[in-house]
Structures are given as C-alpha cells and as structure tokens.
Subunit: 394 residues, 4 copies
C-alpha cells in the first residue's frame, strides 16, 4: 500500500491528528490495519470495531491490540448482540471523529447515544450504502455533524467499487463453488459502480451477462455496453448465477426465488445481507445442507436445488479476502487525508454530507500512478491558456 505509506511518513512527522479521539467501525483486515497504523502515526487516539460480523480477520485484530496498542473490538462470526456491544464499546471512547463503513456508528450515535454527539466534530463514511443512509438523514434534517463521503471520491468509488468489488466478488464465487463461469448466464442486480465492475469481470470470464436495474439511464448504459437488460423476475428464470449489488432490500425476492433453475447460485456483494429475501428462501427450501464451505444448498419441494453463498452476507469479504490491497490503498488514503481535512475544516462545515476536495482526490491518483511507475502528460502553458479562453472559434 504505497500511497498510504507515503501519507504515513508525512503524518509521523507532522502529527496532524495529535491527541484526537477517533472511533472506527470498519472491516478488520490487514488493509484496515494499515490505515489504523497510519492514523496512529499521525497522533490519533484510535479504537476500532468490526463493521460486519463475518469479515474480521482474527489474527489482524489480535495484532492491532498486542503489537500496535490499538483497542479493537471484533471477532469473526460474532452474533448481532456482540456486534452492537462492540459498537457501543468504541463509542464509549467518546470520539471526536468517527469512521464508518455502512453508517452503523453514526446511526447508533443518532439514536441511542445522542449524548455523545456534542463533542463530535465530524466523521467519514466509506461505502455507497452508508452514504445513502447519510443523505437520507440529511434530507430528514436529523444529521447533527458533518460527514465526509469518502465513497464519493473518484479515487474511491471508481476503483474500489468497480475494480475491487468486481474482481473479489467473482473470486469469492469461484473459491466457494469452483464453478466454470464461461458459458454461464450471470445476472447482476444493480449497475452502479459495483455492478459495472461485477458485470465487466463476469463478462471477462466468458459469461453471458444480464443486468437488472431500476434507473433508466443506467439501464440504457447497460444495454449500450452489450448486456441484456430485463426485469429481475424474467431474469430469474434464465440465470445460472445471481449477484446483488444494489444497496436495497429484497432485490431477490420470493417471486425471483420461485423461478430459479435447478442448480442456481445466489450471492450478495452489497453491504447488508437483506438484498436477498433469505426468510423466503428458508420457506421455499424443504431441506437445507452445507455442501461446501460458504455454500448452503436449499432443496425445493419440487426437487430443485438453489445455492446461497455466505448466508447472503457480502460474499467477497466472507468467502474471499475482500478487496486487494492496491485498491484499499486508495480508499484508505482518502480516509486518512479526509481525517486531516475534517479536523482543519470542521468549523466551516454544516451538518451535511460532503465530499473530499477534488485536489486531494487527484493527488491520491497522482501518488498511485507514481507508485505504479506510470508517467502521463501535463498541460503546456499554451494548452492551459486555451482551455481558459473562449474567444477563438472555428
């Protein structure tokens, strides 16, 4: 993670976060550990908990505590009660800044721990799902401190969501099933940045891709990109593999489940495990057994088998290793620079959702290209001037 390393080196010298209490709710992985160490190097007083019950790498959690002195409340497979007790533990740290991956920290603060809000100056949010929740809070007028939508940085969502989710989702499906993707019909629900990445990688494996969307512009883009677009219920009868990445609920609902072919595989790569209507699947299945790690086979009354991966939780973190380090490098560079920016600018900000200034965003892209050894052009003064003039025409 060369970008984060460069930032860490500067942070260690400049101590921009010196003494700031931070609470983070993130997937506890080696990449997150890198971010945590960077923030601590910058002087932050940091505690962490998991943002998903299944995604914790226990050895990482242990190392954060024992080697780096960063309190970390997380254990792989924790139940919901433990999950929320961990969230409360990091809030007990009385944070000045929050870091969220899915908005569970911020929403808990705004519902059950409102007493802590007065001393909070701002937060950062990593995911599309979290940003959707924050916008909803802002619209309803309940958001009480500014939050940086790290997800909306170009160097985050264009790369993490598209290339990271794309590769790791397909990787997780192959690891858990060892199915050949070439020649299969893969149905992708959602054509946002994650959905594009998933569709592109599925296609790159030789699959025939169907996209289901609710937004007409995105649906039209999917058509123009060469995919079939149709209502999900129609696609349900055609697909061999189904992947949800929408950020919404019951995207694969009972009506879809009823139509699926024998042998169908269902996976979710959206943030929460409610994109698939699992209770409906539980009812349709007269029998259920685990046939491989992360693969539950449901047998319908008529003998059809449907396979649910990773219990509907985000499959790339559950059944594979999540995003590769090289995309998390950019995402977490946004978190690190975002923390610094929030601290400096919180006073000018309202309780709204903000994005990182474009110049910081581009700086991360520049550092990344540099780390990859790739050179690119710069505008000549003549070109710069031309772009800023409007007088000369045809």
């Amino acid at each position: 993670m060369p970008v984060l390393r460069l930032i860490r080196e500067r942070f260690a010298k400049e101590q921009p976060l010196k003494g700031v209490r931070m609470s983070g709710c993130l997937h506890i992985t080696t990449e997150t550990a890198n971010l945590a160490i960077t923030l601590k190097a910058g002087g932050a007083d940091l505690v962490l908990c998991a943002s998903n019950p299944l995604s914790t790498q226990d050895d990482v959690a242990a190392a954060l505590v024992s080697e780096y002195g960063i309190p970390t409340y997380a254990i792989k497979g924790e139940d919901e009660k433990t999950y929320y007790s961990h969230i409360n533990s990091v809030l007990d740290h009385n944070p000045q800044m929050t870091m969220d991956d899915g908005c569970d920290l911020v929403s808990t603060l705004h519902t059950k721990r409102t007493d802590l809000i007065p001393t909070i100056i701002g937060g950062m949010e990593e995911t599309t799902t979290g940003v959707i929740r924050l916008h909803s809070m802002e619209k309803q007028g309940v958001l009480r401190f500014p939050v940086l939508a790290v997800n909306d940085s170009d160097t985050k969502h264009l790369f993490d969501n598209r290339y990271g989710t794309g590769q790791s989702t397909l990787d997780a499906i192959i690891r858990s099933t060892n199915v050949l993707l070439a020649g299969r019909t893969i149905v992708v629900f959602g054509y946002g940045w994650c959905g594009r990445g998933v569709a592109s990688r599925a296609h790159g494996h030789g699959a025939n891709v169907i996209v289901c969307e609710v937004d007409p512009t995105r649906a039209l883009e999917a058509v123009m990109d060469g995919y079939r677009v149709m209502p999900g219920v129609e696609a349900a009868a055609l697909g061999d593999i189904f992947i949800t990445v929408t950020g919404d609920i019951n995207v694969i609902d009972q009506a879809h489940l009823e139509k699926m072919k024998d042998g169908a595989i269902i996976a979710n790569s959206g943030h929460f495990n409610d994109e698939i209507n699992i209770p409906a699947l539980e009812k349709l299945g007269v029998n259920k057994r685990r046939v491989r790690d992360f693969v539950d086979e449901y047998t319908y009354a008529d003998g059809r088998h449907v396979h649910l991966l990773a219990e509907g939780r985000l499959v790339n973190l559950s059944a594979a290793e999540g995003h590769p380090a090289s995309v998390m490098d950019m995402s977490f560079a946004n978190q690190a620079l975002g923390s610094e920016y929030m601290l400096e600018h919180a006073k000018e900000l309202k309780p709204q959702v903000y994005t990182l200034p474009q110049e910081l965003d581009k700086e991360i892209a520049r550092l990344k290209l540099h780390a990859m050894g790739i050179k690119f052009d710069t505008l000549t003064p003549e070109q710069e001037k031309y772009l800023n003039s409007w007088e000369s025409g045809t």
Copy 2:
C-alpha cells in the same frame, strides 16, 4: 428517431415555442433536420447555420429551406469568411434563444454582436468544447445570459460522446483508409467520454490501445481498464494510428510529429481542427499529396510518410456520416426539451451554465428504452422506503 418523434407529436399539439425566435448553429445533417422540424412543430421561428465548414449535407440544407421553410445558411466546404457570414446571418434573425454546437454563436454574440444580447433569454450548447468555453466565460464574468449545457445531460454525453463518437470515429478512419485495425497500435489522446468510446471501439477491433491523458484520475482509470498510459511524445514513436479527442490545442505537436513511424495515420475527432499542429506538419512535409478522399500524405525529408485525415477536422463528420441517428435522437431530445425548459424558467436563471433537470434527463432514457422494447425494474414501495430510511443497520 423515435424519442424526438414522440416529442414532436406533443409539441405540435401544445405549441410550447409558439412565435419564439431561435437561431441555431449546428451540423446540418438529417438528424439536425429532425430537430429543426420538431422545434418548428412546437411553434418556433427558427433559422439555422452550419457549425463546421465541412460537415454540411447539402441536400439536407436544401430540403430544410424548400420543403420545411426553415432558412438554412450552410454549404459543404465553405471557407472561414463564408462561415462567419452565415453566423451573422442567423444572428440577424434577432434570436430570443440560441442553439450552439461549439459556442461560435454565443461567442460571436459576446464579442461582435453585443447589441443583440438584451433580447436573448437563453441558449443551449451541444458539445464538451462549447461547455468548456462557456464555463470560461462564466468564470471571467462575461457571460450575459443563461445557457443550458445539453452536453452535460447523462442521456447526451454518456451516449452521444461515448458510443456515437466511438463508432463513427473508427468508421471514418476505416472508410477513408480501409486499414485493418486488428494488430495495430492506436493512440488515443484524451480519456473523457469521447476518448473512452474511441478507445473501447478501437480495442473492440483488435487494436492495441495506448491512452494519453493529463488528468491523473482519468489516466489511472485508463490503466485499470487495461490500456497502456504514457506521455504523448513516447506514444508518438509507437503508434500506427493517432486520434485526438481532448478539446485542447496542439495535442499532437511538432515533437510528436517528428517521432512518428513511416505510414502513421493521424485523425482528430475533437470539435476544432487545432488539436493537431497542422502548420508544424506542413513544415515537416517536403511533399504533400492526396492519396485517397480525405487522406493527405505528407512525406518527410527522411522519406517517412504521415497521413492526415480530413485536414484535421472532426473526422467522423467529415469522412463518415457523423453520429448514428439513434444517439442523436437522445441528444436532440435534450435540445428540444431544453428549449421548452429555458423558455419556462429563464426568469429564474442567472447568466450561468446550467444542466437540464435530472428528471427530464431520465425521462429521455425512459422513452429510449421504451422505443427499443426494453423493460426494466421499478422500486417496490418497500424498497423505496428502505432507501429513504437510515435507521436499520447490520
């Protein structure tokens, strides 16, 4: 053009542009004729001129005048003097609204015909290049009426710039040279929407694509999309075919021209013909001859041959037929709905650059999908509610 047809039918009934004087500076093609007829059906008092000296289809210009009674000042191959006299002719119409494709109308108004400005309520601009010029005018505080950046509608730039420019640019290169693209190295300057389209279609022909960019985020996207990225001067020595789509000047400059291989082909698909430094090429060439329609072969002193297509003017309009009707359908639907919107809302607008409201933009996508016979999903009430809530978490 089914989307425009639906709009025309409504316009004919509702007469939203009744009696409004409009002056348009657009490529005079069959697609533009469709737009013109739609506006006239809506009641507009319209006159047209060409937005590029080479792109006029003379039979279309004639038919607009004789069959539809729309004064049209344009002839293929007109010289610069005639070009500007035509612009002045349409301004003599004393327009209340302008339609531009490259901002020549608006810039002439702001420099030489400022007397006409007081009665203008607003305008529309079709291209990236024009929008760049308008933003520059706005930034310098000289823009004097509101302009809708039609180019910035999703249903314009995501489709017209990407799929339209992509296909038609490669089409023009094949038509004018009949060269096999498979196995060639194609260098694309610019990775905006047009550049993405061109790169994607070049790759779809089996070419090996190099992208040159000045923006680090775009450069990084090009890398992640599997292309090589390098400074233009390095690419100059490697390419077989060069295509500029940047909106900037001297993107292929003397330094590039000097390094090119024998047999290199150069084309521009950006709006103006100054993306290639043609004077420098004229100096490097000790001999110049036309070897096929639209192909000028320059022979360097050392015997190398370099081929310039369409004199550096936008190759897809000069050497082929421009965008296919089906993308112009959406672009011009934006122009038509934009005219109506401007008329209704001009009073609320400042002398700035605006985009079409998203709902109109999505409506165009919806009409287009409908015309293609493609159905897609809609949110259930449960899903709608879920997206607007923030309380429920992991």
Copy 3:
C-alpha cells in the same frame, strides 16, 4: 502489401512461372491487381475474370489491361450471362494452372470445358466455399487435377476469414445503414472462422451477439465465448441485425423472415447470395424500395419493414471495399507461393485437394511479423532438444 512485395522482388529475379499460362477468377480489386503483377513478374502468362458480378472495381480492371497488359474480363454489375461468358473467355486462354475464388472456374472446366483439362497441371482455390465444393468433387471422384486449398493455410483462414471478414462485414453494414451497433442484438449464422470474426467485431462494437450453428462443437465454443446460442428460428424474433456466413443455402429461410421485427437488417457475408432465401422475401414483401445505396426495404403485409443489404451478395465486397490490404497480403502470398509450389510438385500430386506445406505457411507469417516490426522468440537448442525427447518426466 509488403509480403507480396518481397515475393515479387524474388519472382522478378527467378522467373519461376516463366511462360506458364494461368487463368484466374478472383475479385478484381487493387489487392488482386497486386497479386496479378506479382505473378506476371514471375513470368506467368496471366488472364483474369471476376469471381462475383458486384465486386469488380472498374478502374482496377481498366488499369490491369492498359498499364500492365493483363487481359481482364470484368465489369461491376455484370449479369449472369456476361459473368459466365467472362469465365469462358479466361478458359479460352487454355490455362495450365487455375486460380479460383469460389470454384466457378474449376466447376465450369469439369462440366462444360472438359476438353481443356488434359493440359491443366493444377489449381489454387481461395475460399471456404470453393474448398467445400472441391472436397465434394474429390469425394465423388470427379476431380481431375490437384488443387491447393489456399484457404486452408493458417496464414489465410486464420487472418483473412477472421479479421478481414470480421472488420469489413461490420464496416459494410455501418456504411450502408449508419446504424449504431451498440445495444443492438446481432445474430450471426455460422461460427467458422468468418463467423467468429464477425461475432467478435460485433461484440467489440457493443452489440449483444447470438450465434446460430449446426455443428455441436462450434455451438459449444460459441457458448463458452459468452454468446447466446439458439435455433435460427428463435433468434429471428430477437435480432435487430442478421449476418450469414455459413457457405450453405437458405440459412435465413421463409420461417425466419416471417418472424423478424420491424426494422430488421439482413446481410450476407458468405460467398454466394443464396444464404438468404430472397425469393421468399420477395413474396413476403408487398412493397420494395431502395432507401439508401445497397439498402432495399421490404414492407410486409402487416406493415413491418425488413432491410436487405446488397441484394444478399457478400456485403463486405459490395457495400464496402472488401478485406483490407494487409490481410489480402497474406492470402495472396499463399496464392503466389502456391503457384510456384504447384508447378514444382504437380507431378507428385494426385487429383485431390492439398494444403500448402506448413513451412511455406509459417514463412509467410514470419515475413508478415517482420514487415510489422515485431520480434518474437526462437527455441534454444536446449528447448528444441527437450521437445524432441520423451525420457525425462516428473
């Protein structure tokens, strides 16, 4: 055509075809002219006629006669009677060797001009279609002299059929219709080398491709390559554009034509114009008009419109310029080296279909890579030895 140029230079010196009477039936294009000049440089006494009534470039035919002294019987748009009178004219030359593109010369010899056969030592055949006919003649025991299936050289069919037919077929469809291919459903009949090329380029334009095949192995490959495979009659109801490249008859038959959507476009890129059942289309159409060059619109009784391109003749030669020079360079290098080989080896050959020796085939690939400036590896002695040994194992 750098490969052919290298061969021509050697031929001019060595005169391997000195005084040999040759009759060729080929598409009369600039590329064929290059081959003719090469053969003549090698000493051949050559006459030519057209292998397709629509594919002649009249200026090329004229130049062959007047500038190069090669009698050429061909005129664009010739009727069937003239076509066969031209074939007879080149046979009147009393050839010792034949060159065919579709086997019309050889089949005429074996039916109506059998008197000429005794002095013929052998022939060359350029196309898949011609080779199929020759194999049928060989199987029925009627073939009376050896023929080299130039088509079966790797440097012919892997490149000409795949990349040449692929690009030029799509080019012809775009030139004649200016339709946007992105987002369209394109149905390709046949998944041989031509069909693969067409499918690949259609996909590269953003189309959604359906393949129709009769061979199970090829059908399965198409599936694994990510395309949909289904019976033609089912595809007929789904496609926007249909392309036949099978070498068989009535591939698009009445049953298909009846199901097509309003606006469907049909093109043939196979050798003969009987892949589409045009008489059936003529009956279904209550009205027929030419809407653009090479585009006939048939209106069905129920109002649907179907567009037939180039009267069902091979669309890439009729409505565009045929294969780019760089693929014909390799194909015709096979013709030239094949002529030389046939002359040297005819006595050892039986009246059967032969392929060019692999070493000549690879030599052409080597010359081509050299011409493109591309270097590649060679086996080390150690590696060569390893490949020829079998003793060493795990």
Copy 4:
C-alpha cells in the same frame, strides 16, 4: 458432471470394459474419482496413482480406496521417490490399458518395465505435454502400442485447455496473492490453447497482456488479437506477473529472471515444473522466505523481490482446485469413450498416436449442450445436399 453420468449409466448396463485391467496415472481429484467410478461401472479392473506430487486431494484418494474399492497410490506432497514407487505399483497391476496425464506411465513402461508391454493393447493420454512426448516416441520408432491422444479431441483441448486452464490459473494466482489484476502487465509464455485461455482471462480481468511465442503463426494471431508480442527477455523487464504454459523447458531462464521488476510474480501452468529455471532463481536469491501459502519470496542481492508460486508446479492444481468439474466432464468423457474405443479397435491400430474419431468427439459436445439446456440448429435435407454438391455456382 452430467456427460460422464450419462456414460456411466450406459456402461453399467453394457459392461464394455468387463474384466479389463487398467492402470491410470492422473491427478487424484474429485473429477478423476468420477471417471474412475465410471470405468469401474463399465467393468474395468482399475488401479490409480497420482500424475503430480502436489495435486492429490487426500480425502478423494482415501474415498476411492475405502468406498469404491479402487486401489489408489497417491498422497499430497509425496517426494520423487514415492512418486515413482507409486507408478511402479500401478504397473504391477499388469495393465492391458493405460491412462496417462503427462506420459510418465508410458515412458516408464518403455524404459524400466518393458517386460509388461506384450500384454498391453493400448493407452490414453490426457495432456499436450504427454502427446508431445508420445509423438517424439513415435517419430523415434520406440512406441510399442497405440495411444489415443485424448488431448487432441476438440471437446478436450478447445475447452479444458482454454477455458479450464484460463480460469483456474488466474484463480490460483488471485487465491495465493490476492493481487488486483486490473492495470497490471501480465506476460503469458505460449499461445497454444492453454496460453490463449490464460491471455483471454487475464485481459478479462483488466490486465495488459504481453504474449511470448516461438511459432510465427501463433505470434501473429496474438498480435491480431490485440496483445503485444515481443521476445521474452524484453517482456521480463515490463511484466508484473509472468505465467508459463508452453510445455518446454527454461522458458523463464536466468536472463529473464535477472531483468524482473521488484515485486514480480511468477507462476507456471504447464505440466512440468521445469518451465521456470528454478535453480537459477535459487542462485539469484540471497534470501528466500514463504510469505503466504504457495508464495515464496526471493530477495535478490540488489534488494528486488521476486515471488514464485507453488514452487513452479502447475499453479492451478497446486494453489487452487484445478479445472472446474464442467470442463473435466468433457475431458473425462473422452477418456471413458476412448477406453471403450481402444478395446474395440486396438487390433486395427498400429503403435502410433491416434485421435478419437470425430463422431465420438461431436457426440460429447452434443451431450454437453443437451445438459446445459441449449438447443441448436440441424441441417435441412436441402442444406445437406447443397454442401455435398459442387455444380451450382454464382
């Protein structure tokens, strides 16, 4: 594995292999178990050993012995001595037919166990590597019984080598390194069916692919497919990831290793582990440590790190699960039908390398399409007749 299941059902009834002693040397995986059970169902008296020391799934070996009564000599990680003792154990079975995956059984028979040859009627060989060795034996006149090159069936090499090796090789690299492939330069050595599959999947992940080849026709195809082609030593300095699939020795040699960038990853997906010169790497590395499962990091004297995966053994079987069941289904259907064919036809065959008759090959494709629920066209009598006639022309 539905194709093999259909064959097993027939075999169980017909007992075509009743009492035939067979010895197989194959990767001991679940897919092989399926084949073994099929052969046993057909009456064969079968024993098995591993064809690679690292590829055995120990639970499968155990189940074959205990549940199915098939003696199986294999344990994951066995050393070379054990490996060959296992080969000798299965030869002690005194086989009438052999099944090989890499030719170790047949070569041992022809060198150290020649006494057993008289009672052998024939064998089957699964891999490209094995077939190369067999052809070498045939050419040198030492092969003493007929062998069916199962690898050369279309339904084997077109699918197993291309799609199977393609997906599983990239899968193994991602599993062992979790590296993001998008934006990386991946160098593929060899552009046979395996190499094509690997290159295609690498490209499908967004990588920039370089191909190294020694065959000019294949090199030219790689160029036309849009990849860069260059000598391996040049590519060595550019690549991030290197994959060998050539069947030859020292394809990545000391000269390549010396040029590699810091962080380079090297994997072999060819049959034997001598495609990479590991002794040279051991010398270049001043330090070596295992950084993840299957990843050995070598540190050069100048500080560069190079990562070798799976000790240079075939990475898809070592670090992932080998080919997906659906491709092995076709490959092993060839083995099963090949056994039956060999038994029936051995008397007519010479001690040479044969391929399975095309009709059996196509039957497997037909069964596979049927199992996937895909329908395709059949020739009409008219079309069949047309293909067999040669008289009708233009």
